[in-house]
Subunit: 305 residues, 2 copies
Amino acid sequence: MTQLALIESARDFNRFYTNFLGLLNKAYLDTPFTLTDARVLFEIGSHDGVNAGLLARDLHLDPAYLSRILKRFREEDFIETSPDPTDQRSQIITVTGKGRAQFEELGQRSNAQIAARFDTLADGEAQAAVAAMRTIRSILDPQAKPAAAIIRPHRAGDIGWIVQSQGRFYAEEYGWDLRFEGLVAEVAGKFLANFDPEMEYCWIAERGGINLGSVLITNGGDGVAKLRLLYVDKAARGLGLGRQLVDECIAFSRRKGYRQISLWTNDILHAARAIYQKAGFRLVSEERHRMFGPEANGQTWVLDL
Amino acid sequence: MTQLALIESARDFNRFYTNFLGLLNKAYLDTPFTLTDARVLFEIGSHDGVNAGLLARDLHLDPAYLSRILKRFREEDFIETSPDPTDQRSQIITVTGKGRAQFEELGQRSNAQIAARFDTLADGEAQAAVAAMRTIRSILDPQAKPAAAIIRPHRAGDIGWIVQSQGRFYAEEYGWDLRFEGLVAEVAGKFLANFDPEMEYCWIAERGGINLGSVLITNGGDGVAKLRLLYVDKAARGLGLGRQLVDECIAFSRRKGYRQISLWTNDILHAARAIYQKAGFRLVSEERHRMFGPEANGQTWVLDL
DNA sequence: CGCTTTTAATTGACTGAGTCAACTAATTTG
DNA sequence: CAAATTAGTTGACTCAGTCAATTAAAAGCG
């Protein structure tokens, strides 16, 4: 559950933007089009050759309603429809010259409306607003998420991110208290303070500048590599990132001549456990503890390299 | 005239967000309210005592239409109206208990809707989206009263946030290496691990669910409180948050019977230095160091309570 | 293959959200 | 103090949007 203050902020913005869009959409007032008409015409104009079903789904319109709009457009000679040769039920929609003219006219109007608003802004403000819009879109639009997750070494801020995300996650999910976050911070802090680039490493999984996961290898001495702080954000589960991170650890440890990897985890973390098992780790010891409030089952796993 | 590409991007976002809001507003589907009803009820609920004219202007509604909505609300016993004593034409609108219950119910629904969407996002993504929303709003909404920043005690994730934001900031701004972030993590980790709620405290400055600043007081022994990790995010400088955080520290330390506050900082941090000076701290020692890469001037300041 | 089920698009039959103009009553203007 | 303006209400209407039923093609299935 996301924190309430964030949600309230988002709602607040939505109210504001509902209003704002309402104003912008007055642009259609002195045209023969409603907002919905305009949306449909725009969608057809920019994706020539769509069919009605797709249109209805994309714009979340009632098929019956859409059908009537299209009928009107056909009568007005804005569009033409022809049955899809591969599916005779489906109609392929194309814009006529007249329709395209209308489409462009609407675009002009819409642009003018926004330009008028933007022209009242200081230099750079419009840029900043549009950049922010892109940010929102890339996050909220499921179709606009082509950015692939990458795995890279840590840099400034990443260790803090690890502390923050783990601290928050275990508190929310398992009710662990802040001592856990404290432990993570100490472990992570020591890692940085005594960082030995020859024998230690930190991997961060990231997508579009947003961190999604992490893991690190520290030198436990005696030829033992310690795998620590494996974490994958809830938004990125099921992409195989956890597995990839662990694989990086194993490959690195082999390369560096460690003879064993050891790790400490808790039995409630089923997904992590599955990854370790699959990678060949074996459970060597287990003990109940209440280090962070609720009772938990600490486990030590090792992998001989 | 703003450049076309910017405008097109904004339009693109508007189309996307029109769609997005359309989906969110399905939340009202199984209530007796339309979106407009909900907007009106919300506006009344959060600005008790408005009049119809103001409402119509703020929400850009037809006065006739609004009048009918209000009539219905009056009949349903959600609101009461009484003539404004200073202008007998005008009606002052107040919510009844029943109305307030509805208002809160709608709020819940709306929150749940957004929470559901946010729960599919990475932690940082939701934050980034809301931050971007705030950016847009502050630019496009002329009367955007930026949500007030609050100062609150720390909770899960906050200590990690401190590490992250300081680590990133000092690296970007002053080129300090990761040992600095390591030090912060260790300090912060120890604070949590050995937290003494009687004599220690952490303050977080937050606005709309987004952290903006922090400071903590740890027990240095011998009646000395240590002020550590004062930080205010770039986005919130100049609001007096730094001063407020330090004031909290001083008041807390007095209350708890400390005889002195001591802190360690670096001379390049001019804004912080000004705050300390103004609060009555005095510089007691200074030494050059290269703890984090570039040469820097460490300073110790104390305040006798 | 034939039978049922699903899917694309359309049509019939409504309804109620939102608009526009006219009106009352209080207030402001000149 | 008459004329103009403003706050709010009511009458009359329309058309955007909904829901259920229908047709026809395609897909699923034993």
